[in-house]
Structures are given as C-alpha cells and as structure tokens.
C-alpha cells in the first residue's frame, strides 16, 4: 500500500503537468493534438467556403479576374510566401528546441517566428496601401476602367466583375491576416511561458499545438498565393 502511494507520488513528481484524468503524458499530448486537428478541420471548411466562392467566380469571369490579378504585385506575394515558409521552419526548430531542452534556442526561434510574422503583415499592409492608392478597394470609390484583359486584344475588363475579384482578395487575405494576428498572440504567450521555463522535454504541448496552428495558416497562404496573385500572368 505504501509502495503504491509512493509510486503515485513519484509519477506526479516526474510529470507535474499530467492532469488527473489522463493515464500518461503520451495520452494527454495525443488528446491535445487531436483537439487542435479537429479545430483545424473546421478551419479547412471555413476557408473552403471562400475558396469555393472564388473558384466559381473565377470560372465565370476568368478574363476580368486575370486583369485584376495582374494589377497586384506578384513579387511581393512571392516574397511573403518565402517569409511564411521561413517562419514555419523556425516553428519546427522551436518545437525541436523544446524537445531537446534548449531554452535559449527556443526563445530565439519563437522570437524569430514572430518577427517573420510581423514582416509578413508589414508587406501585406504595403500591398493594401497600394490598392487603396489605386482605388482598387471595393466600395463607392472603386475604379477599374480601361484595363485590358490579358491575351484578348481590344477587350477591357468589366469593373463590376473585377470588383468581385477584389472583394474576394480582401476577404481572403484579410481573414488570413487576422489568423496571423491571432498566431502572433499565441506566440507571445508561448514566448512568455518559455521565458518562465515552463517547457521541458516531457511537457511542451503548447509549443507543438501553437506550431500546428501556425503551419496551418502557412498552408492557407500557400494556396492563396497562386490563386490570387498568379492568374493569367504574362511576361
């Protein structure tokens, strides 16, 4: 009897983070991951609706979408894709640092991820600024007159159809940017917890799960980039 009590006590000392309704840390970690994946499943459907609207209108108004897409700076989009891919690398390195008890590296990688995230939002903000300057923001001051349709000499884009493209552009990139802001919040908290030394090789679930969220937001952008920026481009 005394041994059992001692055994339990030992177990608790070894895994202070283990909640009483889980049998072992492994089970607790898997439950947390699964929870995040189910949430990401709902996110896939959430973004899926917007991708569906995009596909349909792009199918109907392909020429107008091409003309509107060509007014966006594809180089900025490509750079932003690279920035997010680099941030995903720093996220996996952060998880690895937590697993191997490298606190300084963990703090550095979490900070680097946030810097990449801020860089992404900065570039995105500059892009939005350009669109406001050009009156390409849907609304009363929207203007998209006399813009040629790629590969169709003498044909001009219908401003009403182009406005649908820009509505989808701002909706999809805007909600993606909102997810980035939420991600920055999550990572600020992870940074604070890491600073306090809360993460150990046996307990770093928040880093892993926060990382899953960050990678997911990266994947959304991986699809947004070709769909919004690279329609019917020409040399």
């Amino acid at each position: 009897m005394a041994e059992t009590v001692m055994g339990l006590h030992q177990e608790e000392l070894q895994h202070p983070e283990l909640l009483h309704h889980f049998a072992e840390p492994e089970q607790q970690r898997n439950a947390a991951s699964l929870g995040m994946w189910v949430f990401l499943g709902t996110e896939i459907m959430f973004f899926g609706g917007m991708f569906c609207a995009y596909l349909l209108y792009r199918h109907w108004y392909f020429g107008d979408f091409g003309a509107a897409s060509n007014s966006i700076d594809a180089t900025l989009g490509a750079v932003n894709t690279a920035v997010l891919i680099c941030s995903s690398l720093t996220v996996v390195l952060a998880v690895w640092s937590a697993q191997t008890a490298r606190r300084a590296l963990l703090l550095a990688m979490l900070s680097a991820t946030m810097l990449f995230g801020l860089a992404f939002l900065g570039i995105k903000g500059y892009e939005y600024y350009q669109k406001f300057e050009e009156h390409h923001v849907p609304g009363p001051s929207f203007s998209f007159e006399n813009v040629r349709i790629p590969r169709h000499p003498g044909e001009y884009a219908n401003p009403r159809h182009a406005q649908i493209y820009f509505s989808l552009y701002f909706l999809m990139t805007g909600i993606h940017a909102l997810h980035m802001v939420v991600g920055l919040g999550i990572f600020s908290w992870l940074l604070l917890m890491a600073w306090k030394g809360r993460f150990t090789p046996t307990y770093h679930t928040p880093v892993e799960i926060g990382g899953l969220y960050w990678h997911f937001v990266d994947i959304i952008w991986i699809f947004l980039f070709p769909l919004l920026y690279l329609i019917d481009r020409h040399p």
Partner: protein
C-alpha cells in the same frame, strides 16, 4: 505503438529533414512564381495548383508531423477534412458548371 518509448525524447524528425523540406518549399515557391509567366494556356492553373498541393503536403507531413502521428485519429481527421472539402468544392462546381445559363 512501437515509438511510445522513443517519442518521449525524439518525436522530432532529424534537423536535416527540416532544412531539406524548407529548401524544397522555397525552390517550389520560386518555380511557381516563374512558371506563372510562361505561356502554358490552361495548364498554368494546373501547374500552380499542383505545386501548391505538393507544398501543403510537405508542410503537413513533415512540419506538422502527420507522417509520424502516433494517434491514428489525427490521420483520420486530416483525411475526413479533405474529403469534406472536396465534397464542397466538387459538388458545387459540378452543379454550376453543368447549368445551361452559366
């Protein structure tokens, strides 16, 4: 699961793989950016989407550890999500693209 014992300490894949995936993702981004300016007709969209799908798969498998997920439910959730996404996109497009007025 066989990897219960080692997963305590080394659930991560080797660093070499992470950097390899990262480099591949950057190269694919550059390729998709350049190919967009090459005249391929309707295949521009196909190439762009195939490259995006490869990149997303790489991120999910190796950065999000789906490849080594101990919990089989995770793989099931991923596949179920993709299935319902395809259902949403596929049936909607099948409807609209076969209507005479569209």
């Amino acid at each position: 699961m066989a990897d219960h014992s080692i997963s305590e300490h080394s659930k991560s894949l080797p660093l070499k793989l992470y950097f390899g995936v990262w480099a591949t993702l950057l190269i694919l981004t550059y390729v998709t950016y350049r190919v967009a300016y090459v005249e391929l007709g309707p295949f521009n969209s196909v190439v762009a989407l195939v490259i995006a799908a490869i990149k997303a798969t790489l991120v999910a498998l190796f950065f999000m550890h789906v490849w080594r997920a101990g919990e089989k439910f995770i793989k099931a959730v991923v596949l179920a999500s993709l299935f319902f996404l395809l259902l949403l996109l596929g049936l909607t497009m099948a409807d609209y693209m076969t209507r005479p007025w569209s």
